[in-house]
Assembly symmetry: C2
Homo-oligomer: 439 residues x 2
């Protein structure tokens, strides 16, 4: 092509006094800038949440999608319904049944990934100043959405079994006493991103009871529920509470993220508003993507594929956990997740994960500092480590590099004194000692 013209030279923002108030919360995090560096091939990235899709049967997918074009091209490449392709919505009810949910396809709304489902739900419920209850820590992508709609996030303590019911009750009472409205509780009950924990079977009805009693809607976000390594999937919260739970699902981790196909399962009046919000946002979710996912589900043993993924992720979980045990300083703590993608590691007192990150990238390893997963500034004593994408060998190498950086940091602190300790509630630290749970 012809030479491209010079890029716009204007670095000053001449629009600075025109933006909407909500953009004040839309700033590029420094973490984002660092990841441009972290994605270089010589860096072992334990930071990203990209599923490893190298095991997908490309010939099967290619053939199914090719047939989709030749046999249904004029439909697959046309505008579709704002609510999503009916056949796919039916298939989605089959997927949800694996976690105990019985639902009607009419109550499913297809979204551009479950990220968009979080966005649309927040759009229809949250006014500026409304409160969203989240776990401590919570998923960075959701925190960004709540901030974009100027909602206030209140974090609620978790332990090794998930959300602590008493902490939830206290948080609700405290917010109500301050005169603010709680619009919903946002929870990731399975293989939590970033904490790796699963809400226990004993806790689930207790959490639902509290929310029912207090009139708090539950937004259940479940991208990893089918990615447990050894056990059958747990019953979703939605399986035992239809009217009070909005359930979000995704094909990103069980098939592939590049189609951007997720969904919300919502009570009828909420579903109506979600469809209107979708039509305003996009007219309709991508028809082609949906029919491609639908063709995949119809033409391939997708459940067998998920089993393969689980084995692959289990192997990587094992590589990470054994590397942590062998290589990390004893003063660290981490959980052993039994599914999903993440380990949540807490550093020795006085070490700050955020300020350590540039030194880690220099040593060619990347992670996400815990501060990304809190709306209130906490989290600097923890980090999220992903084992989903690199090979087991690379994972071990990454942990080796990280241990080296940490040891250097600890020496520095021993010589010059600790960073200010974190105060107050927030960071999740109350889990079992490392190495006790490899099952």
């Amino acid at each position: 092509m012809e030479s491209t013209p010079a890029r716009s030279q204007s670095r000053l923002d001449s629009y600075v006094d025109r933006y909407a108030a909500r953009t004040a919360g839309m700033t590029a995090s420094e973490i984002r800038a660092l990841f441009a560096v972290a994605s270089r091939p010589e860096v072992v990235s334990l930071a990203g949440g990209m599923p490893n899709i190298s095991g997908l049967p490309l010939d099967v997918v290619s053939s199914a999608i090719g047939d989709l074009v030749t046999q249904q091209g004029p439909v697959a490449m046309q505008y579709g319904s704002g609510q999503g392709v009916p056949e796919l919505r039916e298939q989605i009810t089959d997927v949800m049944r694996l976690e105990g949910i019985e639902a009607h396809p009419d109550d499913v709304v297809v979204t551009v990934g479950s990220q968009q489902a979080v966005d649309l739900v927040t759009r229809i419920f949250c006014d500026p100043g409304d409160v969203v209850l989240c776990e401590a820590p919570s998923y960075v992508g959701a925190l960004g959405v709540f901030k974009a709609y100027q909602a206030d996030v209140v974090h609620v303590e978790m332990d090794a079994h998930g959300l602590v019911p008493e902490a939830l009750e206290q948080a609700i009472a405290s917010v109500q006493a301050s005169g603010r409205r709680i619009k919903f509780l946002y929870t990731i009950p399975n293989f939590h991103n970033p904490a790796g924990i699963t809400l226990s079977a004993e806790r689930r009805p207790r959490i639902l009871d509290i929310c029912r009693r207090e009139g708090v809607l539950v937004l259940e976000d479940n991208p990893y529920g089918l990615l447990g390594f050894d056990q059958e999937p747990m019953r979703a919260l939605r399986a035992d509470e239809a009217e009070g739970v909005i359930y979000l699902g995704s094909f990103s981790k069980t098939f592939a993220p590049g189609f951007r196909v997720g969904w919300a399962l919502a009570p009828h009046p909420v579903r109506e508003k979600l469809v209107l919000a979708q039509e305003s946002a996009t007219l309709c979710p991508p028809q082609f993507s949906q029919m491609a996912v639908s063709a995949y589900l119809a033409n391939h043993d997708w459940q067998g594929q998920i089993k393969q993924f689980r084995e692959m992720y289990r192997e990587r979980r094992d590589a990470m956990v054994s590397a942590l045990e062998d290589l990390m300083p004893a003063a660290c703590q981490w959980n052993v997740p039994d599914g999903g993608f993440y380990v949540w590691l807490t550093l020795p007192p006085g070490i700050d994960a955020k300020s350590m990150l540039p030194r880690a990238v220099t040593a060619r390893v990347a992670y996400v500092p815990g501060t990304a997963f809190f709306a209130d500034g906490y989290g600097s004593s923890s980090m999220r480590l992903s084992f989903c994408y690199p090979t087991p060998e690379r994972i071990r190498e990454g942990v080796r590099r990280l241990a080296g950086v940490l040891e250097a940091e600890m020496e520095l602190r021993a010589t010059f004194g600790a960073a200010a300790p974190e105060r107050g509630i927030g960071p999740y630290q109350g889990y079992d000692a490392p190495g006790t749970d490899l099952s």
Copy 2:
């Protein structure tokens, strides 16, 4: 599959006091309900804006997309950049060059259709109560977005040559005098949806001058610019003003809508915020869709394809205009578009397009009443007729049915008296008498 459970029985909205304030503007229009009926096969729908994609080479597309999976599957099916696939952004600059725009791929942001581009631009600029200037009439999808963000729309008069500069100046002065902020002028300069008009070459610099002088940003929405029947594409507004124009494009009408791939070309600081907004809304636009569009552009004579589309749409335009001339009562007025999808028809005095619609659907023809295209209640004396989708024979049949309905309506009015006449500015009516311009 097993029998599906009963649908949620609750029709009462128990969430009614929880929704965000912005949902007050998110109501299902009665038009939408009517279209569920209008999409039945026995109804000739002159209502929809679905491009006719039956001419696409399905074997070529199938093959290109099949190869995409086998050769680049792990990339095409993975998460991508929030700004969009770099190769596609380059190809987009080639597409825009056809309309005189010289731009750098870095200033392009890929969106989920240009509808999402309107949504994201509004999200970053409009606070509740801000003003957006629109043509009279304007595109229903954009009006819905502005309403969803609680912006006020002020319509500005058009004539046969597009936006009237004096009317624009008056509207700006009037809004400023009322103490409100104008965030941007939203314009569809080519083959306007729904009015079918094109902003003339003489008017373009005048509109830009006014906006520059008054500090009004221009949001140029151009899905149809390459679909003129006889003439070369006009220079985009953006071709002559880079910092003051945000340009929106789409592959929906020049390739196919089902991939939902559009874009915004924006000055650097605005582009930064759009990318952040996109990441919050979806993490990233669908990678697979983008690479499919990219493969199509790389593997097929896409410009030749557009030529074919133009011939096909020209034939349909001719069918509609000749049918209108032959069959509609003389008291109607309509324009003859020289590109795009739509004719804007104004009814004889006293006839209300909105109240006539149920009778039209009963007679098995559908159109969109003009009221859908105004934020202020006007438009009932006009309707939008689409010629893009049905065959020429069906188009003629649809006009025949419509003429019958209209004649019956006119008799009714003659017997019982006219509906209240529309008052004030708003509906665009100042165009040439029918039949004078078939070029």
